[in-house]
């Protein structure tokens, strides 16, 4: 039979291949976001009312000292020139010098970044490993309005857990497990046991949210026409759930999970402060309080880039898992 049906990908040129288009579009968005982030970080210092150098050095500083600092920071140049310098330095890895300590900001970050990354990654893994199985199991158990009591207790538990802010949970955990029971250290970063409390405090809230999302997504998938088709094929229940329901529910969950991971990166700020964790989170707070703006700028940049990278990973994972997503993007 002769047909003139067009085959996607065969007659189309390289640039119209969905994957290429997806990559181009996604990279363009990443570059755009990074540029906005850099500009925001640059402008941050200039948006602060008053003279940042004076407020950093305090009222006691002499005029000559302030002028010297302004000079060294280039604050007297026109704004666009400062922006160009900022970009130039950024690309050479120079994030400026901390006002309070005089150390290069990049050194401070290199020193503190690993602790924060370890904490965030560990917490993310714990959250996912708990939330996915629990959420999916709950979805299966409470499908089509079954076991209303289980559903109620699951929902209320997760709502409550999600409502407890991580720093508060951290304080509570410290009190019970460190102060009262002496099972785990109160603060600091040392051996494995010192990770337990920070990771739990960071993971519980997102895990609760993720488990709820997961259940809702599974329930939505169970209502779809294609699941009815799978049932009409008379597949055994296990095949229906594992082959058809689960992958689609997880795909939808990942989209929201990515946002949570981003939130977790930010959550480290509070948790680190409770546990005196030597990471970027405690650095940013102390530098904000000390008005050490170059340091704040650098840490904000690192956090922002971290969040953007997490989002990129999520989008690529989704594109790999769901054949429609590269199409859906447009």
């Amino acid at each position: 039979m002769t047909t003139t049906v067009r085959v996607p990908g065969t007659t189309a040129s390289f640039t119209s291949h969905p994957w290429v288009r997806f990559a181009v579009r996604r990279l363009a968005r990443l570059v755009g976001s990074v540029l906005i982030l850099i500009s925001a970080a640059f402008l941050m210092i200039h948006l602060i009312p008053g003279d940042p150098v004076r407020s950093a050095l305090g009222p006691a500083a002499t005029k000559s000292l302030i002028d010297a600092r302004r000079e060294s920071l280039g604050l007297d140049d026109p704004l666009w020139q400062q922006y160009l310098h900022f970009l130039q330095h950024l690309f050479t890895g120079d994030l400026g010098t901390s006002i309070t300590t005089g150390l290069p900001v990049s050194d401070v970050i290199r020193d503190r970044l690993p602790a924060t990354v370890q904490l965030a990654v560990a917490a993310f893994l714990v959250a996912v490993l708990i939330a996915l199985p629990v959420g999916l199991a709950m979805g299966v158990l409470t499908r089509a309005g079954r076991r209303p009591r289980t559903e109620l207790s699951f929902t209320s538990t997760t709502v409550i857990l999600a409502a407890i802010p991580e720093f508060l949970l951290a304080v509570g955990l410290v009190y019970f497990f460190a102060v009262k029971l002496h099972w785990l250290p109160v603060a600091g970063r040392g051996n494995m046991s010192s990770y337990v409390l920070p990771v739990i405090s960071l993971a519980v809230g997102p895990a609760a949210v993720l488990a709820r999302i997961c259940r809702v997504e599974l329930l939505a998938v169970l209502q779809t026409d294609y699941l009815r088709t799978a049932r009409a094929k008379r597949l055994p229940a296990a095949a229906i759930y594992l082959r058809h329901a689960l992958p689609n529910a997880v795909t939808a969950t990942i989209t929201l999970g990515g946002l949570l991971l981003g939130g977790m990166v930010a959550g480290t700020v509070l948790v680190e402060n409770v546990f005196g964790w030597p990471g970027l989170g405690s650095t940013i707070v102390s530098s904000i309080l000390a008005k050490d703006y170059p340091l704040v700028q650098g840490v904000v940049l690192v956090y922002g880039v971290g969040v953007l990278l997490v989002n990129l990973v999520v989008d690529v994972t989704l594109a790999l898992l769901d054949p429609r997503s590269t199409i859906r993007e447009s």
């Binding site: 602060i48 709502v159 409502a163 088709t229 959550g267």
Partner: protein, 637 residues
């Protein structure tokens, strides 16, 4: 509208959350008026004490009562959180509505900016703005408000876009409604509920975020205090004085929960209709072991009922038999129970739906009742999996979007026929070829979204042909397709019937479709079969007034142009309020007293013809009565 709010407050969660929220707000209002004196009284004799009768939660480093301080701090905490939420909502609304007001180009720009901003976590944005606005209560309020704006903007955008694409907005535009009026009259009222709900939940979030900032020392500054600062100050003393650190924390959680839970309860009450009413405990009816006398019968249905909690019974005792190679059509309007009949026959009614029947057997094997329980479930599954095929209405949604078409076809064969992966795929390609999908080998490796609607429906039929089907149940298989494609699919079904002697149960709302391909037609109304007749007799020999009206109501190429179209007056019966007599009586021009009180049952009118009507038309008795009168009522305005 108001009823729904009341319904929300009547649920246990809604009521609890409502009371809690009210209490929290009341406390914020009254506490500083009542106890600010006690909270600031310095008692140097009792510094950093534990709980006592005088100081329930002990005292702080200046000997101030912590219990009262926590109570009084409620106003600052909640007020600041509400102001921050207000800022977030107002900014979010402005940004989110920008595409409507500013036109496409400016709208696209704001959307892009919001999309980027929303990718950053709120806390990070709050820290950024806290630097810009400076440390302190004002800075923190602005920071949290600004940080919350992107997610509200995103929500507003999504909601606005959802409403804006509905036809009533287009209609208003055509009517000359301006942009502002469009936003105020048409868009905002339709997104108000989700916005209010999310603002409530957002207020809970802002409360926690504020506590976080104050805890870090970036929020309110002394001498003002809120819960976050109370916590932050007593963290170092947690060894000696845990209550001072934990009590404000508990307050934060309770207040946050009050907002969150209330929002969730409202969301649930408005979004998802709650499942009300007792579940049907009733088990499937006991089945009489009635042997099928007809060996040729593929499907025997006797007295089939489908019911749902309510209780409503959309399918009320229908019986029919489908012989080998026979195409039987079921027609009826929406709500007549035809699709539920198809699903019930296919054993695909999900709880809380209940199916019962005196007999429901497929190829002589009972599918329901006591006999069915005895045969093993696995054997029944294999029988259905190989010999019973389903085709659904919407080919767009009936395939799993994340799996290749070939895999989805092959799956059943691997399960029931013991084929390995390669054999099953070969069979799938062969079957796609059989349903005339061009380039079947390549098509099998494609995903559903790469198929056109008609091709997808062919693939669905091909999936049914993976085994050796004796029956294909097709539920509105052509409704979603264009007329020319519809013909292709119907022709395909007919070919399969003639070539493989497969019986087909074709469900359709379109009586012309059924007339084209079926041997026999079952006309359904309000969950009953009202007429069962050969398709060849449909045009001339239909006896039931409903069948005749249905035929007359569909315009075809021979409909006289001078007369108005025939219509059926009135509305279909509400399944929750079934009348005692004939369900069609209210819309029937021949209805008499008997029709309204007694329900007619199916009675034979000739060898292959059954009618459930007290006044079947076209019979000798009817002619004697109505000779000369117009047989079909024509509707006038």
């Amino acid at each position: 509208m108001r009823a729904r709010w009341i319904a929300v407050l009547r649920t246990p969660v809604g009521a609890g959350a409502g009371v809690l929220l009210f209490a929290v707000l009341l406390l914020a209002l009254l506490a500083p008026l009542l106890w600010s004196h006690q909270a600031s009284a310095i008692d140097t004799e009792h510094l950093l004490e534990g709980s006592s009768a005088k100081h329930w939660l002990g005292t702080d480093n200046l000997g101030r009562d912590i219990f009262y301080r926590v109570l009084v701090a409620s106003r600052t905490s909640i007020l600041l959180a509400l102001v921050a939420t207000l800022i977030a909502v107002v900014m979010g609304l402005a940004l989110g509505c920008a595409p409507v007001l500013l036109g496409r180009r400016a709208g696209r720009l704001t959307t892009a900016v919001v999309n980027i901003a929303v990718a950053f976590p709120g806390l990070l944005l709050a820290l950024f703005f806290a630097v810009v606005f400076g440390v302190g209560a004002k800075g923190a309020v602005l920071a949290i408000g600004f940080a919350g704006a992107p997610s509200f903007a995103r929500l507003t955008q999504t909601l606005v876009a959802g409403v804006a694409e509905r036809d009533f907005v287009a209609a208003a535009r055509i009517a000359g409604v301006g942009r502002f009026r469009m936003l105020l009259r048409h868009i905002l009222p339709n997104i108000a509920e989700p916005l209010v709900v999310n603002a409530t939940i957002g207020a809970g979030g802002a409360l926690l975020a504020f506590a976080g900032l104050s805890f870090l020392g970036l929020g309110v500054q002394p001498p003002v205090y809120d819960w976050g600062r109370l916590m932050g100050e007593s963290l170092n003393g947690i060894y000696v004085h845990p209550a001072a650190a934990l009590a404000p924390g508990v307050a934060v959680v309770i207040a946050g929960l009050a907002f969150n839970l209330f929002g969730e309860a409202v969301a649930k009450g408005f979004g998802v209709p709650a499942m009300i009413g007792p579940r049907l405990r009733e088990r499937s009816a006991e089945t009489m072991p009635a042997a099928t006398d007809d060996d040729e019968a593929v499907l025997v249905v006797k007295d089939l009922y489908v019911s749902f909690p309510g209780p409503i019974t959309p399918v009320r005792g229908i019986s029919f038999t489908i012989g080998k190679g026979e195409i039987v059509g079921v027609v009826g309007e929406s709500g007549s129970g035809k699709s539920l009949t198809a699903l019930a026959v296919a054993q695909l009614i999900e709880p809380p739906g209940q199916v019962r029947a005196a007999e429901l057997s497929f190829l002589g094997a009972p599918l329901l009742g006591r006999l069915a329980v005895r045969s093993t479930a696995a054997a029944r599954r294999r029988l259905l999996g190989t010999s019973f095929a389903m085709v659904f209405q919407d080919p767009m949604t009936s395939f799993n979007p994340t799996k290749r078409i070939g895999t989805q076809l092959a799956e059943g064969a691997r399960e029931h026929q013991g084929l390995n992966r390669r054999q099953a795929m070969a069979r799938a390609i062969d079957r796609l070829r059989a349903v005339r999908v061009p380039a079947a080998g390549r098509r099998a490796r494609q995903y559903p979204h790469e198929f056109s609607g008609g091709m997808r429906q062919r693939a669905m039929i091909g999936m049914g042909l993976m085994g050796a089907p004796a029956l294909i149940v097709a539920d509105e298989p052509t409704t979603a397709l264009d007329v020319t494609v519809q013909r292709q699919v119907l022709r395909l079904l007919e070919t399969i019937r003639t070539e493989d002697d497969v019986a087909i149960l074709l469900i359709s709302h379109d009586i012309t479709v059924v007339a084209q391909v079926c041997d026999r037609v079952l006309v359904m109304y309000a969950g009953r079969i009202v007429e069962d007749l050969p398709a060849s007799e449909l045009a001339t020999g239909a006896r039931h007034p409903y069948t005749r009206a249905l035929l007359a109501a569909v315009p075809d190429l021979d409909t006289p142009l001078e007369e108005p179209l025939a219509v059926i007056a009135g509305r279909p019966v509400d399944p929750a309020a079934m009348p005692s007599g004939c369900a069609f009586a209210a819309r029937c021009e021949f209805a008499e007293d008997r029709c309204r009180s007694e329900d007619p049952s199916l009675v034979s009118h000739g060898p292959d013809h059954q009618v459930a009507c007290w006044n079947p038309q076209g019979t000798a008795a009817w002619q004697a009565r109505y000779l000369g009168s117009e047989s079909i009522r024509t509707g006038q305005l």
